[in-house]
């Protein structure tokens, strides 16, 4: 039995090949394959090529099921950059790869949980739209958490 190969296309039009039986770990891809056989290229307009390369690396892993948990953890640990992890989490969410999404989100949460407010805003590129007075009011309310 020959192994069927699928082609995925990233946002920046780069093509990636992956064996179908590995690709269908993504529920999104599995549904597409079921619907129309997905003989042609599958476009992923929200995933850039670096992130897609990571996803493919993850899907291609050759781990025994019992080591899988550890592998996913290690996989995201090695990519400790918050922007990379967020892109990865978003791609995993879009492609519906639950384990990868869980691990990436958990890693981000672990990284930011002890951050100061300024560090959170910087890491997640969030603009501070509060005046110092408003911030102080919330701080006073939950003084014990700071």
């Amino acid at each position: 039995m020959s192994k069927k190969t699928l082609t995925l296309m990233s946002k920046d039009k780069q093509l990636f090949n992956i064996e179908e039986h590995l690709a269908v770990q993504s529920v999104t891809i599995r549904n597409m394959v079921k619907e129309d056989g997905a003989s042609s290229v599958i476009p992923l307009p929200r995933v850039d090529s670096e992130t897609l390369a990571l996803v493919i690396e993850y899907l291609n892993r050759q781990q025994a099921p019992e080591e899988d948990e550890d592998y996913v953890k290690k996989f995201v640990d090695e990519r400790g950059e918050i922007p990379t992890l967020l892109e990865l989490a978003q791609a995993a969410l879009d492609l519906d790869i639950k384990k990868l999404m869980d691990a990436a989100c958990m890693k981000v949460a672990d990284l930011i949980k002890d951050f100061t407010l300024e560090e959170v805003r910087e890491a997640l590129r969030i603009e501070n739209d509060r005046t110092p007075e408003e911030e102080k009011a919330i701080r006073d309310e939950f003084q014990w958490a700071f």
Partner: protein, 600 residues
């Protein structure tokens, strides 16, 4: 440092941050992160977020915390929490509610604690529903028969029922009468079923005693224990005999394991210093099956007694040195805290940390929150809705409506316009963009639809302007307001097939209110139809709230809510609760229209 400012807004949709990252953060971080930005603050206070976080807090991130209430020297008592997993202690802080006696936590569920607090001045106690994480609390109305005493002859068991999404408190009186409080309806009612022989219900602080909406309680009948089970749907009691090996003086606790209620019995043999722990499973037919039988030889004469059974089967026990945790399967003991609950004026309870609000059913969600909520449920791409504020909405409906559908109009701050259709349960973006998204005051209009054209007010460069959206052609038209309507409070009204605009203006020096009414003609011109200088010389008026269909105004006053008929210059008092304080308000009519009517 200067570079940081240049970083552009993320390309990532907020969906991943809001719905995936935030729920994975520890509760304490979330409280701090309310300061990060406005969107996070408002999202973190939504019932939707509370539900998502609750799901994690009761599954993967399950952390039971002991709460110690300490009698205060001032008018409020203090409390501290100890994590039963890692023994981490949160520093003491004040309880938000008044009362300097230590609060008794009678039971807790989903991070809400039912607290009985003795009020010396009134010589009776108050029941309070409290979230120790967010400090929100609600003082419950008194049960029909008056007092709530902190003595154990009354039971106050808090539970959550999924079928009607409600928090309930079961109260059993000494005389066997049974009452149930519903948080949703904020009221008590008497059950028809009475407990024949109520006996003594020991204070057990159980919190794993609800299964399939059936609540299990232990009752002591003088010589023996019996389990009473209350089916919250049928509201009937069943008595269940305890396993035969359950002698007096042992401690029984409930735990739910794999869809079965189990009773764990902790027996002590003082001579040998050993504890025997048995676990029995209650099967569907009411019979018992022993599942665990471990003799736990914690040979330690300092043990005073078991306090709580944690969900994982570990026991929280107190000894002479304080509080410790015992894992009966591994025979391991872990010291948790040095304050002993039986020394000094402590009261102890157990709770998890969630964002569930005791006031959740009071609160009308703001529109921004509502739209996030609807978007999440309808699995539309919520990233298109990001950073939305200045939302306006109108629900369109009518006998003449062409497609029998309810719609929500959403206008973002950037002028993008979205329409939600209830029939298709989805959002879509309109091609037309709003040029004037400057500020859309929340007017709560509900008479602003005519011929499937929705009218709403926009404040553009401090001036009022009317925007009309034709729901059929999906096009916007701008309409200038009458020249005298540059300021004042404007509301729409449909009279005889024409849109009328009513303007309410205050003259603070003479304390008079002027009400004008203008009719909009087909060509977009205005005719003044009513011009009543309504001299309600009453300084207690704070501002108009709503225009009712008959042209009367609902006003908020210092004494509550009043109604003004401008034609007759008459004023009526409606309610004494002032809406400017803690309430959110809305206006509606009572019908049987279902929000789920299209989901068949």
């Amino acid at each position: 440092m200067a570079d940081r400012k240049k970083i552009t807004a993320p390309e990532l949709p907020p969906e991943i941050l809001l719905f995936q990252i935030l729920p994975r953060l520890p509760a304490k971080s979330l409280l701090r992160f309310k300061c990060v930005c406005k969107q996070w603050r408002s999202f973190l206070t939504t019932p939707l977020f509370a539900k998502i976080q609750l799901h994690r807090a009761t599954t993967v991130d399950y952390h039971e915390k002991l709460i110690f209430c300490i009698r205060g020297s001032t008018s409020r008592c203090k409390f501290l929490t100890i994590d039963c997993e890692d023994g981490l202690i949160a520093p003491p802080r004040y309880c938000p509610f008044p009362g300097n006696t230590a609060a008794t936590i009678t039971s807790s569920v989903n991070g809400l604690a039912c607290v009985d607090i003795w009020n010396n001045a009134k010589a009776l106690s108050d029941l309070i529903l409290w979230n120790p994480l967010t400090d929100e609390y609600k003082t419950l109305p008194r049960p029909v028969d008056g007092k709530c005493y902190s003595i154990p002859f009354f039971v106050h068991e808090l539970c959550y029922t999924c079928t009607d999404d409600d928090y309930k408190i079961l109260r059993i009186n000494v005389d066997g009468k049974v009452y149930i409080y519903s948080l949703k309806s904020d009221s008590w009612r008497n059950l028809e079923s009475k407990l024949d022989n109520p006996g003594h219900i020991p204070y057990v602080g159980d919190h794993h005693n609800l299964l399939d909406e059936k609540l299990h309680l232990l009752m002591y009948l003088g010589t023996r224990y019996v389990i009473i089970r209350l089916d919250l749907k049928t509201e009937k009691f069943t008595k269940i005999a305890v396993p035969s090996t359950c002698p007096n003086g042992s401690c029984l606790k409930f735990v739910v394991v794999k869809g079965c209620i189990r009773v764990t019995i902790c027996k002590v043999d003082f001579f040998s210093g050993t504890w025997t722990i048995e676990e029995w499973q209650l099967d569907g037919d009411g019979s018992w099956m022993k599942v665990v039988n471990s003799i736990c030889s914690v040979q330690d004469s300092s043990f005073l007694g078991p306090m709580y059974l944690l969900r994982n089967g570990n026991w929280v026990m107190c000894n002479k040195e304080g509080i410790c945790k015992v894992d009966p399967k591994k025979n391991v003991k872990k010291h948790l805290s040095s304050s002993s609950p039986f020394i000094g004026s402590y009261q102890v309870g157990i709770c998890i940390e969630t964002f569930v609000s005791p006031n959740q059913y009071l609160r009308v969600v703001t529109m921004d929150q509502m739209v996030i909520g609807v978007a999440a449920r309808s699995s539309l791409k919520p990233y298109e809705l990001r950073r939305g504020h200045g939302v306006s909405q109108g629900v369109t409906e009518g006998e003449k409506s062409t497609d029998d559908d309810y719609k929500i109009l959403r206008i973002n701050a950037d002028g993008n316009v979205y329409i939600y259709s209830l029939k298709y349960d989805s959002w879509r973006k309109l091609e037309s963009k709003m040029d004037y998204p400057e500020r859309i005051p929340y007017a709560g209009d509900h008479h602003n639809l005519l011929d499937e054209k929705l009218h709403f007010l926009v404040i553009h460069r401090t001036r009022n302007l009317i925007i009309r959206l034709d729901l059929k052609t999906k096009r916007f038209t701008k309409i200038a307001v009458p020249s005298t309507c540059r300021d004042g409070i404007l509301r729409f009204m449909v009279v005889k097939g024409c849109i009328h605009l009513t303007i309410f203006k205050a003259d603070l020096s003479s304390r008079t209110w002027t009400i004008e009414e203008w009719r909009m003609d087909g060509d977009g011109s205005w005719t003044k139809v009513v011009n009543s200088i309504c001299s309600i010389q009453d300084s207690s008026f704070l501002g108009p709230l709503y225009l009712t269909r008959n042209g009367n105004w609902l006003m908020s006053t210092k004494n509550g809510i009043g109604k003004v008929d401008p034609k007759k210059n008459a004023k009526d008092h409606l309610s004494s609760s002032t809406p400017l304080a803690v309430y959110q308000k809305g206006i509606y009519i009572e019908t049987f229209v279902s929000p789920n009517q299209y989901t068949h």
